[in-house]
Each structure stands twice: as structure tokens, then as C-alpha cells.
Homo-oligomer: 231 residues x 2
């Protein structure tokens, strides 16, 4: 397998995918065209505009981008594609759309078969076992929370440390993930912005500039450094 699951597409003050350029270049080495999956985007920009944004970045790597929404038979498009990029947005909308179109398992089988996959944010959530550790608002009701399970754990993208200066009683991210663990046995990788999961063959590691916070049943949360192997 050959996969990047990134916390975010854009670092604070940076440009779209800029901080990941070298890693993306390595992921898609020898590939001249990818399919972009824009389904997570509920508004603000259209699927066409979102695909154009991705295409602008990938042009700097001499890679062409086609949006999956352009195809009348998206299952065939996925099976014939060379590689994939799923952009961020709302995970509920992304998962609902992929399940309703019957594409979640098609995409998974192609990626498990070795085709490169890049996900950011919601696109990374769907690489986990299920979407139960997304931060997104449940604006639509998906037929299932199950995802591709490209990695044997769940991801919490945009992992955010407690902000004690905010006088607000909403739960911290850590509290939410610990509540997930009261109902599930699944390990959760709290992926801070600047970090990503890298899968190469049978090796899964966490990469980037920040520490990564790991949550498991029966253990206190702990931090791992960039380069640490996860499985």
C-alpha cells in the first residue's frame, strides 16, 4: 500500500498542500493523472471549483486531476484510475455520498491493491476503520459510519489541545476521544495539524513536525514522535 492520511490540507498561513509537496511527490511518483473526490464539500465552493483548486496544486507536479463528479459511472472511473485524492470538508456528507453511490468498498479495494491514496481531513477520516472520531457536524445521516479501514485504527484530524483560556463548557477534544473509548475498543490517532500517517507497503508511521497523541483503551493518552511506526 502507498498512502498519506494528513490532518489538514493547509497549515496556518500556508498555501494549499504546500507543506506536503515533497511527500505527495513521492506518493504519486510516476503517476501523471489522479482522480479527485470532492464529495465532502457541502458548500462555499462547488465540486468543479474544488477540483480546480486541487488541479492548480497538482499542475506544479505535472499531474492532471479529474473530479469524480465528472463521471456518469464513478465506479468504473475509480477502477480505471491510477491514484486518488480525497479532499476535506464534512465527513458525514462524504461518507453518506460514498456509501449511497456504492463507492466506499470500490475505493478501498483499489487502494488495498496498491494504488496511491492521499486524504486530507475528512479524506483521512475515511481511511480509518470508521468515522466515529470525526470533529464534523452531523449535517446529514449516512447509512453507516463504517469507512475503508486502510489502517487498523481511527484518526482524529485537526487534533487540538485543550484551550484553557476559552471560558466555555464544551468538551475538549481529549474528553471526546476518551468518551469514544468508553463505547469502542478502537485505537485513535490524534493527528495535530502538520502531521500525517504514511503507509508504505506493510509499514505505517506517523510523520510531520508535531508530536502525535495516541488514545487506547486501558492506557493514559501518550505522545509519539514523527517517524514512529504505528503497526
Amino acid at each position: 500500500m502507498n498512502i498519506i492520511l494528513a490532518s489538514t490540507s493547509t497549515l496556518y498561513g500556508g498555501n494549499y498542500l504546500e507543506y506536503l509537496k515533497d511527500e505527495i511527490s513521492s506518493l504519486f511518483k510516476g503517476i501523471d493523472e489522479i482522480i479527485f473526490i470532492p464529495y465532502a464539500r457541502p458548500g462555499g465552493i462547488s465540486h468543479e471549483e474544488y477540483t480546480a483548486k486541487a488541479a492548480t496544486f497538482f499542475a506544479t507536479l505535472n499531474i492532471q486531476v479529474k473530479g469524480l463528479h465528472e463521471f456518469t459511472q464513478p465506479e468504473i472511473a475509480l477502477n480505471e484510475a491510477k491514484a486518488y485524492f480525497t479532499g476535506g470538508g464534512n465527513t458525514f456528507l462524504l461518507v453518506k455520498t460514498l456509501h449511497e453511490l456504492g463507492l466506499m468498498n470500490v475505493l478501498r479495494d483499489n487502494v488495498l491493491g496498491g494504488k496511491p491514496y492521499l486524504g486530507c481531513s475528512a479524506g483521512s477520516n475515511i481511511g480509518g476503520l470508521n468515522m466515529k472520531t470525526t470533529n464534523d457536524m452531523p449535517i446529514v445521516y449516512p447509512p453507516s459510519f463504517n469507512c475503508m479501514g486502510l489502517v487498523p485504527f481511527n484518526i482524529n484530524p485537526h487534533y487540538l489541545d485543550p484551550q484553557p483560556e476559552i471560558k466555555h463548557n464544551g468538551e475538549t477534544r481529549e474528553t471526546r476521544i476518551l468518551e469514544f473509548l468508553t463505547q469502542n475498543q478502537t485505537k485513535v490517532i490524534g493527528l495535530r495539524e502538520g502531521n500525517w500517517i504514511r503507509v508504505k507497503g506493510n509499514t505505517i508511521s506517523v510523520e510531520g513536525t508535531e508530536l502525535t497523541r495516541v488514545f487506547e483503551n486501558g492506557q493514559l493518552p501518550y505522545e509519539i514522535t514523527p517517524g514512529t511506526q504505528l503497526v
Copy 2:
């Protein structure tokens, strides 16, 4: 109807339900016993401990509290109760439990019939049309997102204004609710901490100390003052 749907149980630096004491006293006037619904709580404290916490507050109003989890036939307990309080926690867990036990509609029918209802946070979300504007993490998969519809709109509790000082690319609360509106026609009341919805008979108003932000299709979000009637 006679209902309070509060953003939060506890203000920053305050004690549990303290800021709502006068309004709760008015809501439950003449009532000496209520049922507490603790199902939203996924961990941290047990249903027994959570009920005891509520009971400690209500003792100051000479109101006894029984936890719904204590009853082997919760449907009968709801039908025989005089009034209700649903505490906060995780809305997905609360809604899943109420649907699986067949209690969502039982509770709704009793409240529509005039029995007083107090909700905080997750307990307020279930007073809306559905739970699609909760802030909570989807740690479990409910059979439906539909809620009681005690009011003809959705609630976003713990409404939080953008925090531009945080260098983080997660969506703001406003962005999330506007994304909800791309997929739904339902009005959303962004209820800041310190505010609550008050239903008395056919009158619905927003009360408390803060402005309230309202989101509707085809309009820019706008603010209303405490005391404004919503319907």
C-alpha cells in the same frame, strides 16, 4: 407546553444549574418529584453519580429526583412521571439510547401534553427537530437523527464565536451551521452559554444574558436579544 432548553448546565466559574435556579423553580412550580434522564453520559461518572449530582441541586428546591435508569420499565416510568430533566453529555449516545428503548416518542408525547421539561446541552438538542446541529463526536451510531421536535427548529448549544487567535484550520461553528443549511431547510438557534429557550404554552422565546445568533436559509446570520419571541 412548559419547557426550558438551556445551552449549558454550568456557567464558567459557576455551580451546576445555579444560573438557572429561578427559571427552573418557575418551570417546576408545584412539582415535588422529577425523572432525570442520564443516558447522555458516556463515562467519567456513572448514571447513579450523575443522578445524584442532579438530586443535590434539586434538593435546594425541595424536589426529589429519580434516575430513569433505575426503572425496569422506563416507558411506564415516563408516563407516570410529573416532569423531566435530561442532562448533557454525548447527543449521539443519548439519541441512540432513547430510540433503542423506544422512549423518544413517549417523552415527546408527555411533554407535548404539558408536563414540564428541562434540557441542558444534549438534553436541549433532543428538544429540536433533529440532532444534526450537535457539536458532539459521533461515538455511536443512532438508528435515526430525529428528535422530539418540541420546538420547530434546531438548536446548537454551547454556540461559540470564531476564535481568530487559534492557529487552527478546523471549521468555525458558524461555518458548520452554514454547511448544515446547504443540506437542510431547518432554522438553527445558536445558543450561547448563559442563554436558554423558554416555551410557555404557545409562546417560544430566547432568554438569558447573551445575544442569540439565528441561522436561516437565504439570510445572513443575525442576532436577537433576550426576551425575543421565536415563534
